[in-house]
């Protein structure tokens, strides 16, 4: 066994990262999604996880000079149907933004491999067969990004709340995560996994507290939430990002019948990306919006 040469690339002494397609978001994550590790996106439904993942499979195709991985991606989805129309929309705006680097014949959709799975065992089977796909990719570019959207959906239905089932579930987490990390290490992949939220019940802080990460409490849509799949899964990922969605009241118009009756209140949805924990990132957050062109950070 030989120790890895940490200085093998003396000009680039950082882990390679895949850009998110937006410089403001990249700044929050010190470059983007890192390779050789698992990054988890935790959010309520409708917060933008899938949008961000679709954006990633496109930006991964960019050359390394622009922050991409010059690679194809594998998108494993567990929620049906796969949002192909939205991917097409995003790919069109991707092509127009990067027309100076891409061929006119280039179709970004040629470099996205999609696979649907319906159970955790099926996911594990797909991962076992991954070695051959990664060694001989069916696309011209090698596969260097794997997205699993979402991991929570695969585990929510099958397991009951008994200690036996929970133990079985958590050993499955470690098996899947172990396999993903082995693949990531062997092929230099970036792995992104999305997770859902559940309402937070319990105590945080103290020797028995379940606080995980930089934020004492996670809030989305006015509810206090925490990531699904519990402590065991939290131990399986390297970094966790939280996308929150909250409504803010931005204006009030008093109605005709005096104060209280017929008031209209304008609400604006504010979205934030927070770093919950990551070995290379300090606590930080960034606001973003979801538009036709994709997920874009906002500098406020």
């Amino acid at each position: 066994m030989i120790p890895q040469n940490l200085l093998q690339n003396p000009l680039a002494l950082t882990t390679q990262k895949c850009t998110l397609g937006c410089p403001i978001l990249d700044r929050c994550l010190a470059g983007g999604v890192p390779c050789n590790s698992i990054t988890e996106l935790v959010a309520e439904s409708g917060s933008g996880k899938t949008q961000l993942c679709l954006q990633l499979v496109l930006s991964a195709q960019l050359p390394t000079s622009l922050g991409g991985l010059a690679a194809s991606s594998l998108y494993i989805h567990s929620e049906f149907p796969f949002p192909s129309r939205r991917l097409q929309q995003l790919s069109q705006s991707f092509r127009s933004s990067y027309s100076h680097v891409l061929d006119s014949e280039y179709n970004p959709l040629d470099f996205v491999l999609v696979r649907g799975v319906q159970s955790a065992d099926q996911l594990f089977d797909v991962l076992l067969k991954m070695d051959s796909v990664l060694l001989r990719p069916p696309t011209q570019l090698p596969v260097r990004l794997i997205v699993i959207d979402s991991i929570a959906a695969l585990f929510r239905g099958e397991f009951e709340n008994t200690p036996f089932d929970l133990k079985r579930r958590s050993s499955l987490f470690f098996k899947i995560s172990g396999k993903l990390k082995t693949l990531a290490e062997r092929f230099g992949l970036a792995v992104v996994v999305t997770n859902q939220v559940v309402d937070f019940v319990g105590q945080a802080g103290g020797l028995n507290g379940l606080r995980i990460g930089n934020l004492g409490s996670l809030w989305s849509s006015g509810r206090r939430v925490c990531a699904a799949l519990g402590l065991a899964w939290a131990n399986c990922v390297n970094s966790r990002l939280f996308l929150s969605r909250n409504e803010e009241i931005v204006g009030e118009v008093t109605g005709l019948g005096g104060v209280g009756a017929g008031d209209t209140v304008s609400r604006l949805t504010r979205r934030h990306l927070h770093v919950i924990f990551a070995p290379h990132l300090p606590e930080s957050s960034c606001e973003f919006v979801i538009s036709r062109e994709g997920v874009l950070g906002v500098d406020r």
């Binding site: 002494l13 172990g178 995980i212 990460g213 930089n214």
Partner: protein, 346 residues
């Protein structure tokens, strides 16, 4: 007694006895400079005396009356050794305090906590701090970092190394030594070169790695710390044969303890937490079960207390239970700067 048989001068013998060295074994693990200080003689004289002593003790062995069991040490010798062992600082004053100076060599320390509490940060900090040169109070050694999860980030290690060098340069003004020799010429990249980084991807690789460590460290005697981040990850998968898992874990623990003692290095094991269902409530506990908890000399638990990070000594033969705050900054692990910080003795 044996001292009488040594071919040393009467005045030397008199000095030895009045200083308290009445038998050969009390001199066996002494360094020349300590002896010279105690007897108020020159270093060379002390060296000469110790050489004679070691020859004398070799002649003693066939007698059988010198050592009770071959390889046994007296508690006095062990105390001497322990006092001369250095600790690896954690860069946090409070944490060093409750650890008795820092992470001790010749011991296995287990550090566990929830994700995001700073285990990997502490691991990288120790891998950098072990390299602090001797004239700055460090060990000037190298580190072995065994990464089982892929949490080691190159740029973070560089950041921490850079901050360590800056702190050292800042302190060199206070040292009253020859300024030239104190100039910190080290670059962050040099610090990376002294970290032997291994990535293991399965439990079999992990066990093979630990078996290989003996040979590796024999060839690299300047390694002073072995950090495993984390020791649990690969063992939390389904093991069809639980007895196998227990055997593997205890075998691993034994080997690590032997390594620590044999090469006088510190072994730091980072662990995860899990919930244990006891008496109707869920408690957080370190992973790998109760039998593993016997495998480490010291156990430190990292936890959140409000918005602050705290470390708690859960088990130690020589340290008292106490908790201390620390913080994770851009420079690495540092002392917490909250207003109402204090060390709580339990």
């Amino acid at each position: 007694m044996e001292l009488a048989r040594l071919p040393i001068s009467a005045s030397q013998r008199g000095k030895l006895i009045s200083a308290g060295y009445t038998s050969l074994s009390s001199l066996s693990s002494l360094s020349p400079s300590t002896l010279a200080q105690d007897l108020k003689i020159s270093d060379n004289e002390a060296l000469e005396i110790l050489r004679v002593v070691s020859q004398g003790s070799r002649l003693d062995k066939p007698d059988g009356s010198h050592a009770i069991v071959n390889g046994a040490q007296t508690a006095w010798d062990m105390l001497h050794e322990e006092e001369s062992l250095k600790c690896i600082t954690t860069s946090c004053v409070d944490l060093d305090d409750i650890l008795g100076g820092g992470i001790k060599c010749k011991e296995v320390t287990e550090i566990g906590g929830v994700p995001g509490i700073g285990k990997t940060q502490l691991g990288i900090q120790l891998a950098v701090n072990v390299q602090i040169p001797v004239y700055y109070g460090g060990l000037g050694g190298k580190a072995i970092y065994i990464d089982t999860e892929g949490s080691f980030m190159l740029e973070r290690a560089l950041q921490i190394a850079k901050a360590c060098i800056e702190d050292m340069s800042g302190n060199s003004d206070f040292l009253q030594k020859d300024f030239q020799s104190c100039q910190v010429k080290a670059q962050p990249k040099d610090f990376l070169q002294n970290i032997f980084y291994f990535r293991v991807c399965s439990y079999t690789e992990q066990i093979a790695m630990i078996n290989y460590l003996d040979k590796f460290i024999s060839e690299h005697k300047d390694v002073n710390v072995v950090i495993i981040d984390s020791v649990t990850f690969h063992f939390r998968q389904d093991f069809d044969d639980l007895a196998l898992r227990t055997r593997l874990l205890s075998g691993m623990a034994l080997k690590l303890m032997k390594l620590a003692k044999k090469f006088s290095l510190a072994v730091v094991l980072l662990n995860q937490v899990t919930t244990k269902h006891t008496e109707g409530s869920f408690q957080l506990t370190l992973a790998l079960g109760d039998s593993w908890s016997h495998s480490c000399t010291n156990r430190v638990i990292l936890y959140w207390n409000g918005d602050e990070r705290y470390a708690y000594i859960d088990k130690s033969p020589s340290l008292r239970s106490a908790s201390a705050p620390y913080s994770v900054t851009g420079k690495g692990i540092r002392t917490a700067t909250s207003k109402c910080k204090r060390i709580k003795i339990m």
